[in-house]
């Protein structure tokens, strides 16, 4: 028994597996992740296709199911170009740094209760730690290094821009993501993932802490650089972003890391907010054994696939947002909302714990609601004012452009400009007193 197990109750079931059970679980997780990535890429393309009134890949294998496998094989048969001038060590290490930590986070995700596996009593979870939630956040943060280093080592402006954007974006959304977990820990009282799932037995945290859940859904898409937040590899602006200079298997590793990260954040959302492997509430009322044995894997998978589908759905529905809008959403909306929400949850929970009269609790809730309404009103007002100012500016610009075709745009020599060898007399600057069009003296030059 380690010190950690002594300090944290509820972890007695972990760390006692024989080595071969650990190996089996690790291999199963690895295979699950790989299959998930292959299927997710395929589903991504097929569902997107259906949303856009087309078929998507349907040639290779039954229903096109093996398409991404074929893509992987083809990528590995491509030439492994290392451009001249790159920082070779960093260039080669970057895909590994991106891909390897992506696998780690899944080791603390619980997919079921204790079961008997080959005669050994073991939980359906590779391991659990007193700081399991921090492992998830830490691995998500390390993955950024791969992106930044890959962009930096490529010695290409597009790659550098993509890497910088990705780093700024991911750290911005990581704060909102970290803050969205605070309310969860308040209710669970533990950082162990199995403990968090157990704490949701009466009611899922997605119901109690709906704002946290919604903000987590936004940040998880931002954190994995998926549309509508995929500014790091926005094809229309910076070619391929940080992976512009990568090809063959190195590109595949970045791609793999992105999809494994998606799997991980989806699994985290299921664990922290959607009750993990617990059966959805109506099922347990008529089937007591729904949370026993291997059945919880089914519930976990259903929830997990629902979140994964959300990724594709969002991608199919929303256009890519601008970079300033992305940063504004992260810093000016998600973070302040989270801070107010955490304070509100803490105050209300303290009042309930201290046995305050229900009227006081209601008053506090009403006070916070008032603050929120005022903030939304103020934000809408400032947005409206800014939009009006922009419209006025644009009107003014249009007016100037109508008067002077060369205004502010590409420096086209105005047709009335003075130049050598012309019989056209020079006109004074237009900015002074304007001469109305019809009063202007016609100069034909003939």
């Amino acid at each position: 028994m380690t010190l950690a197990q002594g300090a944290e109750p509820g972890l007695g079931a972990f760390g006692t597996d024989p080595w071969w059970i650990t190996l089996i679980k690790a291999l199963v997780i690895f295979v699950f992740l790989m299959v998930c990535v292959l299927m997710m890429i395929m589903a991504d393309r097929k569902v997107m296709g259906r949303m856009q009134q087309r078929h998507g890949p349907n040639r290779f294998g039954p229903l096109g199911l093996l398409q991404s496998l074929a893509d992987g094989v083809k990528l590995s048969l491509k030439e492994d170009v290392i451009p001249r001038g790159v920082d070779r060590v960093v260039y080669i290490a970057a895909p590994m740094i991106a891909a390897v930590p992506a696998f780690i986070a899944f080791s603390v995700i619980p997919v079921g209760p204790e079961v008997t596996m080959f005669g050994v009593q073991t939980p359906l979870q590779l391991t659990d730690l007193p700081i399991a939630a921090l492992v998830v956040l830490a691995t998500a943060a390390i993955g950024v290094y791969g992106i930044v280093l890959g962009g930096w080592a490529s010695q290409s402006p597009y790659a550098l821009l993509g890497g910088l954007r990705a780093s700024a974006q991911v750290i911005s959304y990581e704060i909102a993501m970290g803050l969205s977990f605070v309310a969860v820990f308040m209710y669970s009282g533990t950082l162990t993932t199995s403990g968090i799932v157990e704490a949701q037995r009466p009611l899922w945290f997605a119901v109690i802490l709906l704002p946290s859940f919604l903000i987590y859904l936004v940040t998880m898409i931002g954190e994995t650089n998926r549309l509508p937040f995929d500014l790091a590899e926005g094809e229309g602006e910076i070619v391929g972003g940080f992976m512009t200079e990568y090809g063959s298997m190195k590109f595949t590793m970045f791609f793999l890391a992105e999809y494994v990260n998606m799997v991980t954040v989806a699994a985290v959302s299921v664990t922290f907010f959607l009750g993990g492997w617990l059966a959805p509430p109506p099922i347990t009322s008529f089937w007591a054994g729904a949370n026993e044995g291997y059945w919880p894997i089914l519930w976990w998978l259903v929830k997990f696939l629902a979140v994964m589908f959300l990724f594709i759905w969002v991608r199919g529905s929303l256009p890519r947002i601008r970079y300033d809008q992305l940063m504004q959403l992260g810093w000016k909306i998600l973070i302040p909302v989270q801070l107010v929400w955490i304070t509100a949850v803490a105050v209300v929970r303290i009042l309930l714990n201290e046995g305050a009269p229900i009227g006081a609790v209601a008053a506090v809730v009403a006070g916070f609601a008032l603050v929120v309404v005022a903030a939304v009103y103020g934000f809408a007002r400032s947005a409206r004012r800014r939009r009006a100012a922009e419209a006025a500016e644009r009107q003014e610009e249009l007016r100037l452009m109508r008067d002077d075709p060369a205004y502010g745009g590409f420096p086209v020599p105005p047709q009335n400009a003075p130049h050598y060898g012309s019989s056209v007399p020079a006109e004074g600057p237009r900015s002074g007193a304007r001469v109305p069009h019809d009063k202007r003296e016609e100069v034909t030059g003939a």
Partner: protein, 119 residues
């Protein structure tokens, strides 16, 4: 340590897969030399000479990084408080709200000074 060992097992499997597939990729592919192929891709124009080490980039990224550190430390303080929320009670709540207000002053300052504007 028994708790952490499985993580290293999974990391080792992942690392082995990554290394093997990258080595296979570098062996399996063709090798045809082409001078233009080794240049940085810039939509076909002559690549811009890049200063070693990435050169300069806009200070916005540094500002974002600094504010990130402030908030990350805030989160680090928030987690233990959240986990032991029920034991810490009213004292913990008041202390944490004061701390949040303090951090928010820096946040409001950067907001008002335009540190969060991206144009």
């Amino acid at each position: 340590m028994e708790l952490y060992a499985p993580i290293f097992v999974l990391a080792a499997i992942g690392a082995a897969f990554v290394v093997v597939s990258m080595v296979v990729g570098s062996i399996a592919g063709p090798k045809r030399y082409n001078r233009a192929k080794l240049q940085a891709y810039e939509c076909g124009i002559e690549p811009t000479p890049q200063p070693a080490g990435g050169g300069r980039f806009t200070i916005k990224y540094y500002l974002t990084a600094m504010l990130f550190i402030v908030f990350d430390i805030e989160i680090i303080f928030l987690y233990p408080w959240a986990v032991h929320f029920d034991e810490l009670g009213v004292f913990g709540l008041i202390a944490m709200v004061l701390f949040l207000v303090n951090v928010s002053i820096a946040y409001a300052y950067e907001w008002r000074r335009g540190g969060l504007e991206w144009e």
